[in-house]
């Protein structure tokens, strides 16, 4: 997998060109496309632990929310007193100049990537010692607690919410903001893809798989599982933080439980998208996220009010009937395309035994 084949090359360059051209082709859909990029990043990095490592986390939203608050705080805090910006009521008006805005968001995103990674490393030892559903529930608790606690902290706006700096008004073109955030998210998407792709070709992935398949045995083989688990989680945290930072800037208003630590929606969506596409595959989460986003944007607004019922039913149907996801289903159907060799006789023999 390390050498990029010619066929792959065509595919990737095609996708990149499509990605670069998309905001101009579908100008009206820029925001949706930005969401799509972010969703794919979230699903892809969730897949690193959920799919490859077997640690089903509901808590990646923690890093996403953290990244969001950090980017906004840094962007404001670099130039203005943060406390006055977020002070409820906000009598004073601060305006970022163009240079300040971009410097701020640049540094902010950097911080938003690094701090969640460190946090993941710091809490990893304690949390990743839990296994299976205990890990899932614990991370669920972590995500919700973070939202509740953030909602009580004054300096980041508490219940008032945090209005992120508006896009500099010196740039008159109303399309500029959308393009900026789209390309930012697309860049992160490409980075994430290259990174995940690299991991898929490395020994690291095999170790993660070993942990998923049987952690005790992996340990017995001499793998320091804890170390790898923490590193795996830190990788996700890095990209979740970035994704959160971008979303914060795009939405323009951060609410503790509904936007930042949005475990009910984003937190579950990322899991769902990865499962829908197929856990433990490179393309699964990407396809899952794309399908999910199209389903959501296309259908959502036409079933005014019923969309959550539809979502709930969708979740049940997916996890009950397609736990292997789309890729898993395809794999079952066309195993030869996935490079699996099937002995026809053997398969027939199995059928007969049944």
């Amino acid at each position: 997998m390390n050498t990029v084949k010619q066929k792959d090359l065509i595919l990737y360059s095609g996708l990149i060109i499509l990605g670069l051209a998309a905001p101009f082709l579908f100008s009206a859909f820029k925001v949706q496309l930005t969401y799509l990029c972010v969703l794919i990043v979230l699903a892809m990095t969730w897949n690193l632990q959920g799919g490859e490592m077997g640690y089903n986390s509901f808590g990646n939203i923690l890093f996403y929310g953290l990244g969001m608050y950090l980017t906004a705080s840094v962007q404001v805090g670099m130039f203005f007193p943060l406390a006055e910006w977020t002070e409820s009521g906000g009598e004073k008006t601060f305006v970022h100049t163009t240079a300040q805005y971009f410097q701020g968001i640049g540094v902010g995103l950097l911080v938003a990537a690094i701090v969640p990674t460190i946090v993941a490393g710091a809490i990893g030892y304690a949390i990743l010692g839990l296994r299976g559903h205990y890990f899932a529930i614990c991370t669920l608790g972590l995500g919700i607690a973070a939202g509740e606690i953030a909602g009580g902290i004054e300096i980041i706006g508490a219940g008032q919410g945090f209005t992120t700096p508006p896009f500099p008004s010196e740039i008159v073109d109303p399309e500029a903001r959308g393009q900026f955030f789209y390309f930012l998210s697309f860049l992160v998407l490409v980075l994430a893809f290259v990174f995940v792709k690299y991991i898929y070709g490395s020994r690291f992935r095999l170790i993660l798989n070993a942990i998923r398949d049987n952690e005790d045995k992996a340990e017995a083989m001499g793998i320091q599982t804890m170390k790898y688990k923490i590193v795996g989680w830190m990788c996700s945290a890095f990209f979740c933080g970035l994704a959160g930072g971008i979303m914060g800037g795009l939405i323009g208003y951060i609410d503790s439980t509904d936007v930042a630590f949005d475990g009910r929606e984003m937190g579950v969506f990322m899991v769902l998208m990865a499962i829908l596409g197929g856990k433990g595959t490179l393309w699964g989460p990407i396809i899952g996220a794309t399908l999910f986003h199209f389903f959501k944007e296309g259908l959502w607004t036409f079933i005014l009010g019923w969309q959550y019922v539809a979502l709930g039913v969708l979740i049940v149907v997916i996890v009950v009937y397609f736990p292997e996801g789309l890729m898993g289903w395809l794999r079952e159907k066309y195993p030869d395309r996935f490079g699996e060799v099937i002995d026809e006789k053997d398969r027939k023999a199995q059928v007969e035994i049944k």
Binding site: N56, A126, I127, G129, L130, R131, G132, H133, Y134, A136, I137, C138, L140, G141, L142, I144, A145, G147, E148, I149, G151, G152, A158, G159, V268, V271, L272, I275, G305, W306, Y308, V309, L311, G312, V313, L314, I315, V316, V319, V320, P323
Partner: protein, 297 residues
């Protein structure tokens, strides 16, 4: 940070009593969760939403003019069938699967329930009036709503009733046998499918009782289910499966913790504190077990 509680000892009494009464109610919900977790190996995220649905049943009775306290009899009966239907529709397909699947599937159910309740009853907060009045203690400085006492009392009655039922009845024995070893029970002629359905039904019924009690003590709203789920999960992992006295004790402990967290940290951190406690308990148990080179199973 409010330190008023240390200045006014009477507040301690108030907080403790509130906490304990509330905790008994939590314990009832947790007992249902322990039951189905132990028997079927399912973690039901929709537990809280079943509670709220039970509450709405009592509220509906209140609306048509029946005293909502009768909800503690009507609601479990209806909820038993809701649980049974839910089992037949969805849960039976996830029983033998990975626990994570059951978490996600029940999460989906929870969303559907929330939305349907929103359609039927609206997103407004509603309350059912019991008109039970209030008990005053210590020269009116400590007040206990009689509805809370009633709720705790009913919870205890039902819990004891259930324990006796589990010990004595045929179905109860079948349930316990299945919990111990489903395969062996099956070999010995227990219809495990039926046992599972009944267990999930009983769990839902317990939620129904708790919901009816919540409708007269607290408030109902379609979206407040999740904290109840988390509370019962927490109680269960502290108390272990199928140990009623421990469940009751840790339920009261949680109630106390919440009330005191409310006073000391401030109300805004109350729910956050509950979720953080969950994390701490899990991490604490994980470190304790890891000394023995084991992990939570």
């Amino acid at each position: 940070m409010d330190l008023l509680i240390f200045q006014a000892p009477i507040l301690m009494v108030q907080a403790s009593l509130d906490g304990i009464l509330l905790g008994i109610l939590f314990a009832l919900i947790a007992y249902g969760m322990a039951l189905q977790w132990g028997v079927m190996n399912i973690i039901n995220i929709a537990q809280g939403d079943l509670v709220i649905l039970g509450g709405y049943i009592a509220y509906t009775m209140y609306l048509v003019g029946i005293h909502p306290a009768w909800g503690v009899i009507v609601s479990p009966i209806i909820m038993y069938f809701v649980g049974w239907a839910l089992y037949k529709l969805v849960i039976n397909k996830v029983v033998d699967r990975d626990l994570f699947i059951s978490i996600l599937a029940t999460f989906g159910i929870a969303i559907v329930f929330q939305q349907l309740m929103n359609f039927v009853f609206g997103a407004d907060v509603v309350v059912a009036q019991s008109e039970y009045g209030t008990t005053m203690l210590f020269d009116n400085s400590v007040t206990l709503p009689n509805s809370k006492i009633f709720a705790a009392f009913i919870s205890v009655i039902y819990a004891i009733g259930l324990v006796i039922y589990m010990r004595r009845s045929r179905l109860g024995r079948a349930i316990r046998a299945t919990a111990q070893n489903a395969r062996a029970a099956k070999i010995l002629g227990v219809d495990t499918e039926k046992v599972y359905a009944a267990t999930f039904g009983i769990n839902a019924a317990l939620c129904g009782i708790a919901g009816a009690l919540i409708s007269i003590t607290l408030t109902l709203h379609p979206y407040v289910g999740l904290p109840y789920t988390v509370r019962s999960f927490m109680i269960v992992i502290v108390a272990g499966l199928g140990n009623l006295p421990a469940v009751a004790l840790s339920g009261m402990g949680l109630g106390l913790f919440e009330e005191f967290a409310d006073y000391i940290l401030g109300t805004e951190f109350r729910i956050g504190a509950v979720f953080m406690l969950l994390v701490f308990i899990l991490v604490y148990r994980r470190f304790k077990l890891s000394k023995k080179r084991e992990y939570l199973k």
